[in-house]
């Protein structure tokens, strides 16, 4: 059986549509994850024991249960509660919640890495906690967290393939359709593998550039 990649040619447009949907889902879920991650990270560094515990439980739970189980829980469960949302929204919600658990760990590490002295200077000048968090802690923590958050994004792109199981027409879902249309699953999935790998490679380059740009003013220049 010879490898024949040309049979994929007429389906490239269809696959591109799937890739676009993947990008959309991941972009929205990234925003959701970062927002959720920030809130949970703040909760985890809080003095209130119950808030701390709740946040810890959330992270622990969603990092130790497979994504497909979480996804099915929402996809089949939410209609039971009378919440009817489409596969796209369910996917974004599920990815945001799972991603938020990872993101919160990353941001929390970033918060803890901030020099104590800087926080002290802020406290001593009378700045209220809310302002210290929003103007000092989070801006610094997010700058240092860019790289690991990039890993969260890359992970999310790969995890998004699981959304094909709830009939979402993202990249993997569309590829399955093409594979059955062309009877050439080998070619289709090999190409798919390479496309995902290339996508994540591009994203990681983008992250490196973003990290450099965001931290451009924080590189030590004078000894």
């Amino acid at each position: 059986m010879r490898l024949d990649l040309t049979i994929l040619a007429p389906h490239l447009g269809f696959l591109a549509q799937g890739a676009l949907l993947t990008a959309e889902v991941c972009a929205l879920a990234l925003i959701g994850s970062v927002i959720l991650g920030m809130l949970v990270a703040i909760a985890r560094t809080s003095q209130l024991k119950w808030l701390n515990g709740l946040a810890f439980a959330y992270v622990d739970l969603f990092r130790n249960i497979p994504f497909i189980v979480q996804l099915f829980f929402f996809y089949y469960g939410l209609p039971e509660l009378g919440i009817y949302i489409d596969a796209f929204t369910t996917g974004v919600v599920a990815l945001s919640i799972a991603g938020g658990a990872h993101a919160s760990d990353v941001i929390r590490a970033g918060i803890l890495a901030i020099d104590n002295g800087i926080i002290e200077a802020a406290e001593v000048s009378g700045l209220p906690r809310r302002v210290i968090f929003s103007k000092i802690v989070l801006p610094i923590a997010l700058r240092t967290s860019v790289r690991p958050l990039g890993s969260v994004l890359i992970n999310m792109i790969l995890t998004s393939s699981i959304l094909s199981t709830i009939t979402l027409n993202e990249l993997t879902g569309n590829a399955k359709i093409v594979a059955s249309d062309t009877f050439r699953p080998f070619e289709v999935y090999v190409v798919l593998l390479v496309v995902y790998a290339a996508l994540t490679y591009l994203v990681s380059i983008g992250i490196t550039l973003l990290h450099r740009w965001l931290n451009r003013d924080m590189q030590e220049q004078v000894s």
């Binding site: 059986m1 490898l3 739970l61 130790n64 249960i65 497979p66 994504f67 497909i68 189980v69 979480q70 099915f72 829980f73 089949y76 469960g77 039971e80 890359i154 790969l158 995890t159 998004s160 393939s161 699981i162 094909s164 199981t165 993997t172 590829a175 399955k176 594979a179 009877f183 050439r184 699953p185 080998f186 070619e187 289709v188 999935y189 090999v190 798919l192 593998l193 390479v194 995902y196 790998a197 994540t200 490679y201």
Partner: protein, 223 residues
Amino acid sequence: MRYTEFTPFDLWLLAQGLGVTIGLFLVTSLIGLLLGALWGVIRFYRVPVLTQVITFIAEILKNSPVLVQLFLVFFGFPAFFKLNMTPVNAAIITLSLNTAAFVYVIAVSSIESIGRDQIEAARVFGLTRWQVLRHVIAPQALAFSIGPLTALLVNQLQVTSLISVIGVMDLSKIGANLNLRTLKPFIVWTAVGILYYLSAKLVATLGAKLEKRLRAHSAFRGL
């Protein structure tokens, strides 16, 4: 006659599913560990061509979705190589290779974290590369790598859930069947989630204990 309610037999079904999940997890983890370590050794010896090939394959495996890898092996290989492939075989091949790719990266980084000066000293004393590997590098690399390896294995346990998509009767597949039959997603997926969670915690705890023992060993040798 349709049993839409839960029966005690369902507990047995869940147990079976868990058994399949754990069984496949152990088998693929073992193969993955050995294979990944072997790849690490190959890289240590800087075998030409083979090292680059391995690194390339590992990168693709790490940066593409496991679901797609499963589809490639389960759907693509039989079509292209004209061989028979059962879901379980496909699962073992895919997960073992996927685990190996991540183990390879951990092996490389733990070997590299051992100072060059130790290796140089050993070589200067006349030890062969193999002896250096066996007596100087391996024990220390092992101690360094337990932490990341435990985290990896906990993650790979979650990944096994994807084999349900190609029809393996693991815990997730049993869950999907139960869900279909009883239409009680909250109960089913919560139960499945708890079982995965407990298994993950078990792996994490065992890993932590092992790390303590290995670290104690190396600390003593440091004397």
